[in-house]
Every structure is written in structure tokens, then in C-alpha cells.
Symmetry: none
Subunit: 230 residues, 2 copies
DNA sequence: GTAAATTCTTAATAGTTTCTTAAGAAAAGC
DNA sequence: GCTTTTCTTAAGAAACTATTAAGAATTTAC
């Protein structure tokens, strides 16, 4: 497995250090943070491939942090918690964590889970942040700069418009139903919001298409949804 | 989340059935197997998106089965085990499992973990191991793009037409009765709707066959139903 | 606090699909 | 060869889906 950076977030120094020792032993680079706020900062500064996150922390707890991280990135998150009640596990996983380990934990088990998540990550070949740019027949997207351009000319998109375009361009060719687009962009269930999406599609077409009535990029798949042409 | 098929492998009928009830409640289709050998068979026959695998089973145990599955496919595997010792967990994860739940388990926690794995699976947009494309003598189907093409030339199908073609092409060679086609596409009992299906078959032939009167792909099996030629 | 920009709602229109009906053709059984 | 059953085909009505515009409500920026 390649060189990986793991962000370890826990308010207890002993735990951070213990985990670091085991991870280093596996050739994994460790970045450390004391709470959720610091974790988000470190995330912005570094390339991180996996996060180990304690639930009980001052300032910003693990569950809330998971939620915030998921809004931006899709890297594996393993939640650490002293509580072993089922409800916590479910909450953690529902909020978007990929795995859950209860304290006290066997370090070897934690390492095994980390490696399992990283293996999956590598196999699927999607190092988040790596393919940060996409180009589809002259329509380009830069995920870091959050910029879209058509034949080099920047297109000014609103935040929602950008998110829709990023979703569709990141999975070019795949069809997304209107409710799926809504759920993935707004992050809430789609209830009677179909037309809302339609209006945004219209606006996007107006900006990225030469002839919005005969779209070349953002196509409709009748009765199913929309897709970005490969 | 889209329609998923989960393979549940356990030698105890009560456990298989219990898991089935909860998964069905989430709209997930369940395929069941009693041991590792049967699991491998079912895997060959069906499109499976996730496997729940018991460790202690006759013939072929869960750990060995995981190893064999990983040689072929990269779909998520959740291991179920009565033993909760750390060594087993580590062994399971190292061998390639994605998660591990110990018996007795809270069904809701298991479901949450299943959904978590499936979400990840979908988010990454790479149904690894899932045959997202099919090619039958020049007739091709792309499940992600919801596109059908004949010798590379795209065919414009309506949603229902597409679903029928996907059903038949996904099980090429197998004959489907008209009522089975109706039930699997419309997802409701077939009551006096036989002719409806026939009309759609006609339309499909018009679009995918060179000579609709002498169909090469979509053949009738007299008195039984229709099939897609292998 | 105001102005600007963004987002959402409503509703009318245009366009497509789906279903129903019904009649003709092909296959199977006797 | 005749009858019955099953399959094919056509055409129009009904139902549904997508597009579009305009304005109201909300959020954001200064």
C-alpha cells in the first residue's frame, strides 16, 4: 500500500500518541488534532487519506465533525468512542462514518480496521483530492478552486449550481434521478422539490451550454433524470 | 439508494430470516445461502452488492469464503461471528472483510452498517464487480448511463422499454413470462396487463432489431414468454 | 439596514410516453 | 383443415414529464 496520511483526532494525548506508534509501524504518516475544530483546520492544510475521530471532545464533538467533514470530503472516517451503546454506533454510522471502534480498544484491531478502509480506498482507485480536475470535451471543473470553465473561459456559477455540476461531472455518463440530485446536493430528503432541481438545471444550461435548448453537456434522460455527457 | 441485492450467508435459518426481514424493510433484495460453497454459487448466478457472512459454518467457513470471494470480486463483506475475541476480528479484516459484527447483534446496528457500506459503494460511483455493461452480439447495455446501443449506435428507449431490455439482457438466455416481466418492471401484480407488455416488446423490437419481424435479439418462446438471445 | 444576489415557487406550455382498444397473423392442437 | 390460443401490430386518447418564464421569498454582502 502506498504512503498514507492519517489524521488522528482525540483530546487525550496518550491515545493520540499510542495510535501514532502503531500507525507509524505500518509506514503510515500521522497528523494529530485535539478536537473537531482543529481537525477541520488540519484537513484543509494537509492531504488526508483517513480520519480516526474520537466522539467525546471539547469544542466540536466527533459526530458533528463527521457531519461537517462529509459535506466536503469523502475520505474514510473511523469513529472512536468510550460509549459502546448501540445507539451511538448507529448514529455514527448514519452520519457518514465508515467504521466504529469502542474504547478500550485493542490497538491491533484498530490498525486492522484502518488498513481495511485504506485497502478499499486504494482498490477503488479514488484518492479524494487527487483527481481534482476534470475535463469533458472542453468543459472543465477544478474542485479545489471550485471553478468551472468552458473552453478556458470561466463560468460564474452560484454555490448550488456548482455543486450540481460537480456531482454530475464527477460521475460523467451516470444518470442521476432528480431526487438523487436533490438529496446529494441539499443533503436532505427530496419531498416535492423536483421542480426546484429543474430550475437550477435550466440556469446551469444557460451558463454552460452554447445552445441551452439543445444541450451538448447536460442532457436529460427522459423519465429517469439528468447526466453529464462523457 | 438504488435497488441493492445483499447475499446473506448463515447456517442458522432463524438468523437468515431475521436479517431478511430488516433488509427488506429497507427495500433491499435478499439472496440467501447456508454455507460458503452455496454462497459462491449464488454469487456466480446473481448480481450481489454486499455480502453478510457468518464465520462458523459447515463445509466452507466465513474466513475462507471471504478469501475466495476477494480473489474474484471486490464487493463489501460484513462478517458475522459469535466469537468476539480480538484475534478473530483482526483475521477477518485482514483477509479482506470490510466490517465485522459480533453475535448477538442489534439488527438495527447491522442494518446501519450495511447501509453505510452501500452508501460508500454508491458514492464512489464504481459498482466494482457489478457488471455495469453487457454486450450481446453487438447489442450493448450500460446500466449507469442507462443507454442501449446497437453496434455502437445509441438507441433511444423510453424508461419502461429500457427497464424491460435491462431485465432481459441482465439474464440473457433466460425466458421471462409476460406476467413476470410485468411484475419485475412495473413492480405490481400483473392483472390483465399482458397486452401492455406485448406492445412494449413490439416497440423495443422496432428500435433494436434490424428486421423486427424476424427478431435476432428479442425472441419469443411460444406459450411461455420472451428472452434475449445470448 | 439596504441593495444585490441567490434560491424557491407557481403555473402555463410543449413534448413524450404509456395504455387501451381492436383487428389481423401465426402457431398449436385436434 | 378447422378451431383455439397466443402473438403482433396500429392508432389515438389519456397521463405524465420536461421546459420555461416571471415574480416572491430568502439569504448574503456591504
Amino acid at each position: 500500500m502506498g504512503p498514507f496520511n492519517v489524521l488522528v483526532v482525540d483530546d487525550e494525548k496518550e491515545i493520540r500518541d499510542a495510535i501514532e506508534i502503531y500507525l507509524k509501524n505500518e509506514g503510515i504518516t500521522v497528523i494529530k488534532a485535539c478536537d473537531g475544530i482543529e481537525a477541520l483546520e488540519k484537513l484543509g492544510e494537509n492531504t488526508v487519506h483517513l480520519i480516526i475521530l474520537d466522539v467525546m471532545m471539547p469544542r466540536l464533538d466527533g459526530i458533528s465533525a463527521t457531519f461537517k467533514i462529509r459535506e466536503q470530503k469523502n475520505i474514510p472516517i473511523i469513529i472512536l468512542s468510550a460509549k459502546s451503546e448501540d445507539t451511538d454506533k448507529i448514529l455514527g454510522l448514519q452520519v457518514g462514518a465508515d467504521d466504529y471502534v469502542t474504547k478500550p480498544f485493542n490497538p491491533l484491531e484498530l490498525i486492522a480496521r484502518v488498513k481495511s478502509q485504506l485497502r478499499r480506498y486504494v482498490t477503488l482507485g479514488t484518492y479524494e483530492g487527487k483527481n481534482t480536475q476534470i475535463n469533458l470535451n472542453g468543459l472543465t471543473l477544478d474542485k479545489e478552486a471550485k471553478e468551472v470553465a468552458i473552453h478556458g473561459e470561466a463560468v460564474k456559477l452560484t454555490p448550488i449550481e456548482y455543486k450540481i455540476v460537480e456531482l454530475l461531472m464527477s460521475h460523467a455518463g451516470r444518470v442521476f434521478s432528480i431526487s438523487e440530485i436533490y438529496e446529494r446536493v441539499w443533503k436532505e430528503p427530496c419531498y416535492n422539490a423536483e421542480n426546484t432541481v429543474a430550475v437550477h438545471i435550466r440556469k446551469i444550461r444557460e451558463k454552460i451550454e452554447i445552445d441551452p435548448k439543445n444541450p451538448r453537456y447536460l442532457k436529460v434522460v427522459w423519465g429517469i433524470g439528468y447526466k453529464m455527457e462523457k
